[in-house]
């Protein structure tokens, strides 16, 4: 299973405050749906058309409507422009399944770019007429070496009337994207294409310019080890079992980290540069993917994960994932790099937990981990909890 890494952003037409392009995204258990829409004209009017189109499309498709029903609804809902007597907005609908299968329905936007290992992947597009609109549909397969980029026409026209007579043009955009390093994540791809557009427009975009990038990240099993085992005599055996399990190991908890380091005969180093007022720094043990403090870090990571599954807060969470602190790193591993989560939950009780003044006692920890597992399940991960 893959994690579908998406990133999108726009340059707004020079002199306008609102963008006339709009992207909506819905993450479902087995797939992600994205709709890029470019509204007729610019400014408020275009913004409303594009927002309506993409919102209707994403809402209907995620609830199981067919393409026909969706387009029919859009056609009958869009307000008609009083000047042009048209209700018009382009769209590109993209659906990517977690196993890499993809589908696109394109209407009047520049065709999508699909690149695998620096080569353009030829797409067999099927033409369909729906409500008088010509729509092109295609299917494809993505893997970790595939990059999908969808753009509004502001990208292929970048530079018109300024540095380039005919604008950037599809073929040249394709060439540019093919040269982007295959290891770049979706954010970097969107960023570099938009920067190039800005350059060609000499920082005064002649049209709303939008870029959407999609990459697939391979996921794997993560073994989250938190809390010392109940019976200290078994520490060594349990750690041996965890470390030899399939997948990567993440250790959350100061004492837990010490035990792991000791069993491995390794030095536990702390990377102070990751410390913040709110969060303790991460540690480093060779062979362990991430080492953090326990209850505070997990609590903060859980906050990010909760926001991530909330469509209204998803964008806040995505930004937090890129921060350099223990909770962001933990949340990023769970969200982006993990399809199967084994939680090894130690049952030893720290004596300080008996102190009623200490707010994060054993029960708090257990409830927190229960919710951690349930949010991870909500993201479609397979979660297995082992009490040790």
């Amino acid at each position: 299973m893959y994690f579908i890494d998406t990133s999108f952003n726009s340059l707004i037409k020079y002199g306008e405050e609102l963008c006339g392009d709009h992207i909506e995204q819905a993450r479902l258990n087995d797939c992600t749906i994205l709709v890029l829409s470019d509204g007729l004209g610019s400014g408020v009017k275009a913004n409303i058309l594009a927002t309506l189109t993409s919102k209707i499309a994403v809402t209907m498709l995620k609830n199981g409507s067919t393409l026909e029903e969706t387009i029919d609804t859009i056609v009958h809902t869009l307000p008609v422009c009083s000047e042009r007597h048209l209700a018009y907005s382009t769209f590109t609908i993209i659906k990517i399944y977690n196993d890499g299968r993809g589908y696109a329905a394109e209407f009047d936007n520049p065709f999508i770019f699909l690149i695998r290992n620096g080569q353009t992947v030829p797409l067999k597009r099927e033409k369909r007429e729906l409500n008088g609109k010509t729509i092109y549909e295609c299917s494809f397969v993505m893997d970790e070496y595939t990059l999908l980029v969808a753009v509004s026409d502001g990208v292929v026209h970048a530079g018109v009337g300024r540095s380039l007579d005919l604008g950037w043009q599809w073929e040249n955009v394709d060439k540019f994207i093919k040269n982007i390093d295959i290891s770049a994540n979706a954010f970097d791809v969107t960023d570099s294409v938009l920067k190039e557009c800005g350059k060609l427009y000499e920082d005064m975009a002649g049209d709303d310019t939008t870029v959407l990038s999609i990459k697939m990240k391979e996921q794997e099993t993560i073994n989250l080890f938190t809390g010392p085992p109940k019976n200290p005599a078994k520490d060594y055996d349990i750690i041996k079992e965890i470390l030899s399990s399939e997948g990567k190991v993440v250790v959350c908890g100061g004492t837990t980290a010490n035990i792991v380091a000791r069993s491995l005969g390794a030095e536990l180093e702390v990377d102070l540069s990751t410390m913040t007022q709110e969060l303790p720094p991460i540690g480093k043990i060779p062979g362990v993917e991430l080492v953090t403090e326990g209850v505070i870090t997990i609590n903060k990571a859980l906050e990010i994960m909760r926001d991530y599954v909330d469509p209204n807060k998803n964008d806040i969470a995505v930004k937090k994932l890129r921060e350099r602190n223990s909770a962001s790193m933990l949340a990023s591993i769970i969200i982006e790099k993990c399809d199967r989560l084994n939680m090894w939950v130690g049952q030893a009780v720290n004596p300080v937990h008996q102190n009623p003044k200490y707010p994060m006692d054993f029960q708090f920890k257990m409830n927190q981990l229960k919710e951690f597992a349930s949010v991870a399940r909500q993201m479609g991960k397979t979660v297995n909890v082992v009490f040790i």
Binding site: G253, L268, V270, L272, P280, P281, G283, E293
Partner: protein
């Protein structure tokens, strides 16, 4: 070069490790002792009841942000001479 190890486990963090690390770093610099002492963070020192734990010269002390300077003067600076 000697290490002053400040615990950053859960309890110690809640009780102010972050401030203590910053204060100790400030005190070392103010006293021109950068070549003698280095503040390092460490995971749980095993004495959560006595948080915040600071390990120096193989001894574990209980230090709070407001007693950091006192700890420094008595045990670190005092120990130089």
């Amino acid at each position: 070069m000697k290490d002053i190890q400040v615990c950053i486990g859960s309890v110690c963090h809640l009780k102010g490790s972050y401030d203590i690390i910053n204060r100790l770093n400030g005190l070392i610099a103010d006293n021109g002792l950068n070549d003698k002492y280095k503040v390092k963070a460490t995971f749980c020192l095993g004495n959560c009841v006595g948080a915040v734990c600071v390990k120096f010269n193989d001894k574990i002390y209980t230090v709070l942000p407001e007693t950091a300077e006192q700890f420094f003067n008595e045990h670190v600076k005092g120990g130089v001479a």
